[in-house]
């Protein structure tokens, strides 16, 4: 039984790592631009398929394909912002939210058009798990956890040490004051999309490694990703990491008592409970 629980904990951490990477972007975008970015799941999908083209199509090594896919997705996010969101920024957040919903549909259709509607995988064949003290751990799962750790550490250093990272935190705190001290807010916005896009791509690629590629893979994960961002305190990237782990682990543990098809409902339920008990999220985010 104890082994069983540890096994679930590992699965939870894998899922939680993926959710955290997605939730970081949602939280950053909310903190800086004050709107819920509904196209984030499809940005994850896009990243996963970019990596598919680089890895399977161009036969590049996986680490290279990973970096290229993150860069391509980050640029796509910046372009979407410049073409669509930027023009709507002076209107209400509701309009931005709805336009991001439309963008989600556009991205999903594009993925289907370009890569087709069926399931794909990066590597056909079955991976044999390591057996450690009766635990089954696949090499891919190790890759995902380590990869997420590296990315989160990188994000931490960026936010704490760099001028633009500090400006980003300042802008999330108080956008008017950020302008008053002379921060070029449009530049911070571009950096926000670059990071959110790259992190979304990483989440998508890890999800595809853990399961498989499919045009609605990211959309399906959107609710748990939002739940993670909200549980952690929306607008707080560090909270998003914790929120991702909490939701991921809770979802896996829930399979002890519930059918796995309720996993999304568990994420939603947990989010509602946190909102009732602590409306600003575990780490005190924005309203």
């Amino acid at each position: 039984m104890a082994i069983e629980l540890v096994q679930l904990l590992i699965y939870g951490i894998v899922l939680g790592s993926i959710l955290a990477l997605g939730a970081i972007g949602v939280s950053l975008v909310f903190g800086i631009l004050r709107f819920a970015h509904f196209a984030h799941g499809d940005l994850m999908t896009l990243g996963a398929f970019f990596a598919f083209s680089f890895y399977v199509g161009l036969a590049l090594p996986m680490p290279v394909a990973f970096v290229f896919a993150c860069a391509a997705t980050a640029l796509t996010a910046v372009v979407i912002d410049a073409l669509v969101y930027r023009r709507l920024r002076r209107t209400s957040p509701v309009i931005l939210l709805i336009s991001s919903f439309g963008m989600a549909l556009i991205l999903r259709s594009l993925v289907q058009l370009i890569w087709g509607p069926s399931n794909q995988v990066y590597d056909p064949g079955i991976q044999f798990p390591y057996l450690i003290w009766g635990l089954r751990i696949k090499p891919d799962q190790v890759t995902i956890i380590v990869g997420a750790l590296v990315l989160v550490t990188g994000l931490h250093l960026f936010l704490q040490r760099t001028r633009i990272g500090k400006a980003m935190r300042a802008m999330a705190d108080n956008i008017d004051l950020a302008r008053i001290v002379g921060i070029d807010t449009e530049r911070v916005v571009i950096w926000t999309w670059l990071i959110a896009g790259a992190m979304a791509a990483a989440a998508g690629i890890f999800l595809a490694i853990d399961t498989r590629l499919h045009p609605i893979m990211g959309w399906r994960l959107l609710l748990p990703v939002f739940a993670a961002a909200i549980v952690g305190g929306i607008g707080r990237p560090y909270g998003a990491i914790a929120g991702g782990l909490v939701i991921g682990i809770a979802q896996e543990f829930s399979t002890l008592v519930l059918s796995p098809s309720y996993k999304t409902a568990v994420a939603f339920g947990l989010m509602v409970v946190v909102l009732i008990v602590r409306p600003t999220g575990l780490f005190g985010g924005r309203r």
């Binding site: 500090k166 935190r169 300042a170 108080n174 950020a178 008053i180 001290v181």
Partner: protein, 235 residues
């Protein structure tokens, strides 16, 4: 010639004009105070300098240059810092990071200036790694003023720096403002609720009512004015 001049400013927040003809000047090295009833447009006049409202008519001059249509970050680069009335620190950033943000537009090494700000406010040095949101009101005001000084500006705009502070902090802030004005030759334009005290130490003052200039005179001159005394100074 004056360092800053607002010339017949009309404008507001997009709707009806809040300012309908505000004119004022600040000469180099001067301390100028704006007083007036709540809602008179004092804060709005400060925002006009900083490109934060829509100016429909009139001009903002700074050192002979027209600032009226510049972006806020461009105005900051000209050497003007603004400490707003409320929400004037970044709560989740540490005290030191708040001060660093004040030097955001500087391209040179700001660490000598950081040392000077800590010298001016030793309290902030003690609290440098603490999140600014956890500080007391007086300490926050020091962070906000210290942050503005990081740029070594030529003109400092202070919007009610003593509002809501305990009396001992009020005196300390006034002392500090006078100190930086004397030591650095920094020009200061400030809005103040403690009108009697503020006019007592200002070189000149303006009384703003309903978005318009009502009186202007030297600090003592305004203090001696019966009409003003009846209006704001509690008789």
């Amino acid at each position: 010639m004056s360092l800053l001049a607002l010339d017949d400013i009309h404008g507001g927040y997009g709707g009806a004009d809040i300012l309908s003809g505000v004119s004022l000047t600040v000469a180099a090295g001067e301390i100028v105070v704006i007083v007036g009833p709540n809602g008179a447009g004092k804060s709005t006049a400060m925002k006009a300098v900083f490109g934060l409202i829509t100016i429909r008519r009139g001009t903002v001059w700074f050192a002979g240059e027209n600032l009226t249509r510049l972006r806020t970050d461009q105005i900051v680069r000209r050497g003007i810092c603004y400490v707003p009335q409320v929400d004037n620190v970044f709560p989740s950033l540490t005290v030191e990071e708040n001060l660093e943000m004040g030097a955001y537009v500087r391209n040179d090494d700001a660490s000598p200036q950081l040392a000077r700000v800590y010298e001016l406010f030793p309290r902030l040095f003690e609290r440098r790694s603490q999140a600014a949101g956890t500080l007391s009101g007086g300490e926050r005001q020091m962070v906000a003023i210290g942050r503005a000084l990081m740029l070594e500006p030529r003109l400092l705009l202070l919007d009610e720096p003593t509002a809501g502070l305990a009396p001992r902090f009020i005196d300390q802030i006034f002392e500090t403002v006078r100190g930086i004005n004397r030591a650095l030759g920094l020009s200061i334009l400030m809005v103040e609720q403690n009108a009697r005290k503020a006019l007592g130490f200002a070189d000149r003052g303006y009384v703003l009512v309903l978005g318009r200039n009502r009186f202007e005179d030297t600090g003592p001159g305004l203090l001696a004015n019966r009409e003003i005394a009846d209006m704001f100074l509690g008789g």
